[in-house]
């Protein structure tokens, strides 16, 4: 049975990818929020925010990228939820296929869908004046961190996708994730925040990830932030994966 794991997962991933390409609206709605925020922040609020010599669009792009992923994974939960409710999940599970392939197909599709959204958002940022002298290694490092972040949040999205009782519930978990970057170094320097807020902002996962990506784009040495960022991503990934698999076993037992 396991000999077919890769073949089955590839077939199932092809199916969910078609869901993405045939409902382009899901890609557009994923991208529209971060792009709108980018426009607001750069052309409305940005002028009042002091980020020193750094152009504001360069400053806030890392945070916008994280928001893009956070809103993208709510569709991962939605797609999984629809499969669970519609009965096709049961059909797959009653077939002689590698059962874990059903989940992996959704995870791989989520990675691809988010990659598409991220590329679009970076493209819009370039049009808005985002510039970086980062070379290939720095771009690869940014891609690697975003990959790990997306993978961690995707497994997190699997949990509501499997256990939600309504479509709204399946997508709602993403809202706090979308707003987390606002209380971080993503849009304003944390030094301007009052004590407790600043303490939270400086110790929550988004800040270290944002700082790392920002440094990579600005060709600065990344410092310790990268290790904090990687630890947060890896920790979230492991915890979410364990919880998601436990939910899966409970749901299908």
């Amino acid at each position: 049975m396991t000999t077919y794991f890769f073949a089955d997962t590839a077939v199932l991933t092809g199916r969910t990818l078609r869901h993405v390409t045939r409902s382009v609206d899901t890609v557009i709605t994923t991208v529209i929020t971060p792009v709108a925020m980018m426009l607001m922040f750069v052309y409305v609020f940005g002028g009042a925010i002091d980020t020193g010599s750094v152009p504001y669009v360069n400053y806030m792009l890392p945070g916008i990228l994280l928001i893009t992923v956070a809103s993208g994974i709510s569709y991962t939960a939605y797609r999984l939820f629809t499969d669970m409710k519609g009965g096709i999940f049961e059909r797959f599970r009653s077939m002689p296929i590698a059962r874990s392939g059903v989940l992996w197909a959704h995870v791989l599709t989520s990675l691809v869908a988010n990659l598409i959204s991220l590329v679009i958002v970076v493209g819009v940022a370039l049009l808005m004046g985002f510039r970086t002298g980062a070379g290939l290694p720095a771009w690869l490092a940014v891609a690697g961190i975003l990959f790990l972040f997306t993978l961690a949040l995707t497994w997190l999205a699997v949990i509501p996708g499997l256990s939600a009782t309504s479509v709204e519930g399946a997508g709602a978990f993403a809202y706090p994730l979308v707003f987390l970057p606002f209380v971080s170094s993503a849009f304003v320097p944390t030094q301007t925040m009052p004590g407790p807020v600043r303490a939270f902002a400086e110790h929550q996962p988004v800040t270290s990830i944002v700082n790392t990506i920002r440094d990579l784009f600005a060709q600065r040495p990344v410092g310790d932030d990268i290790w904090t960022a990687l630890a947060w991503c890896a920790g979230t990934l492991v915890a979410a994966y364990v919880l998601a698999m436990a939910t899966y076993r409970r749901k299908v037992a």
Binding site: V11, H19, S23, I88, S94
Partner: protein, 269 residues
């Protein structure tokens, strides 16, 4: 496929028990389904029909008892069981976003068949879906969806097929379409386990009928045998025609107080 391997029945269930918490759904279910026959599990909502199907399809574990499909034990050899059966669940398990043909190709690929496209085209033809084959399933009618659903279960010619309430929610025309498909199936030697809450459906399709009530099989036999078992118990279903009064009340709806007032005034005048 139709060799003389009648040594074991296609489905064998012995002492099956299942409870969710304190709620006992199955309390010792026994039955056999002969190869190539249509067997109907008849019962009202909540009788445990779907629970039996889910246990047989390896989606659910029983608390006690044994169940075998095509000679394989569902608990010990789930992989072999899944090779031998196909499940058509209560809700049409089709992919709405794919076309009908793509749905069939998908299942054929997952069953690792040689020529998925040819398998799909053949089944589209058998279920009169050739014209609709390239259309998105979300544009299909309920009956077409069900037919596609059953066609998907036939990919790879599994020897045993479970149909869990295949006509629930369908209009009369679509029901007849599905019945025709099921009869064709049995004609080709496939064993069919059918669950239904419709008496006429069991009567139309099944070689044998088992009545499941409160987690137990309380009767099991051919229609003729069941009729012989309970000669005096002729249950008649009579359509109750509404009286004109009921129609009147339904039409005026919530305006009862108005009606009463008018009547009162009318009485005075």
């Amino acid at each position: 496929m139709t060799t003389r391997s009648t040594a074991h029945p296609a489905i064998r269930v012995r002492g099956l028990e299942k409870s969710y918490g304190k709620r006992e759904v199955l309390r010792g279910v026994d039955f056999d389904v002969a190869r190539g026959s249509i067997f109907a599990l008849l019962g009202s909502n909540g009788a445990g029909k779907t629970t039996i199907v889910r246990i047989l399809a390896t989606l659910l574990k029983a608390n006690a008892g044994t169940a075998g499909v095509h000679g394989f034990d569902v608990a010990a050899q789930p992989a072999n069981v899944r090779e031998s059966l196909s499940l058509t669940g209560q809700f049409a398990a089709v992919d709405e976003i794919l076309s009908g043909r793509e749905n069939l190709v998908l299942v054929a690929r997952l069953r690792h068949l040689k020529d998925p496209g040819a398998v799909a085209d053949d089944l589209l033809g058998r279920f009169s879906l050739t014209e609709a084959g390239s259309r998105k399933v979300s544009t299909y009618s309920g009956g077409m969806r069900r037919r596609l659903d059953i066609a998907m279960s036939l990919v790879g010619d599994p020897p045993v097929i479970f149909l869990d309430e295949p006509t629930t929610g369908l209009d009369p025309e679509a029901r007849i379409e599905v019945w025709r498909a099921v009869k064709e199936l049995a004609g080709s030697g496939t064993t069919v386990l059918l669950t239904t809450q419709y008496l006429d459906e069991a009567e139309q399709l099944a070689d044998r009928i088992a009545i499941l009530h409160q987690g137990r099989i309380i009767a099991n036999g051919t229609l003729a045998e069941l009729k012989r078992l309970f000669p005096p118990a002729t249950v008649e279903y009579v359509e109750k025609q509404p009286t004109l009064e009921e129609i009147f009340l339904a039409i005026i709806g919530g305006d009862n107080s108005d009606a009463a007032d008018t009547e009162h005034l009318g009485g005075q005048g």
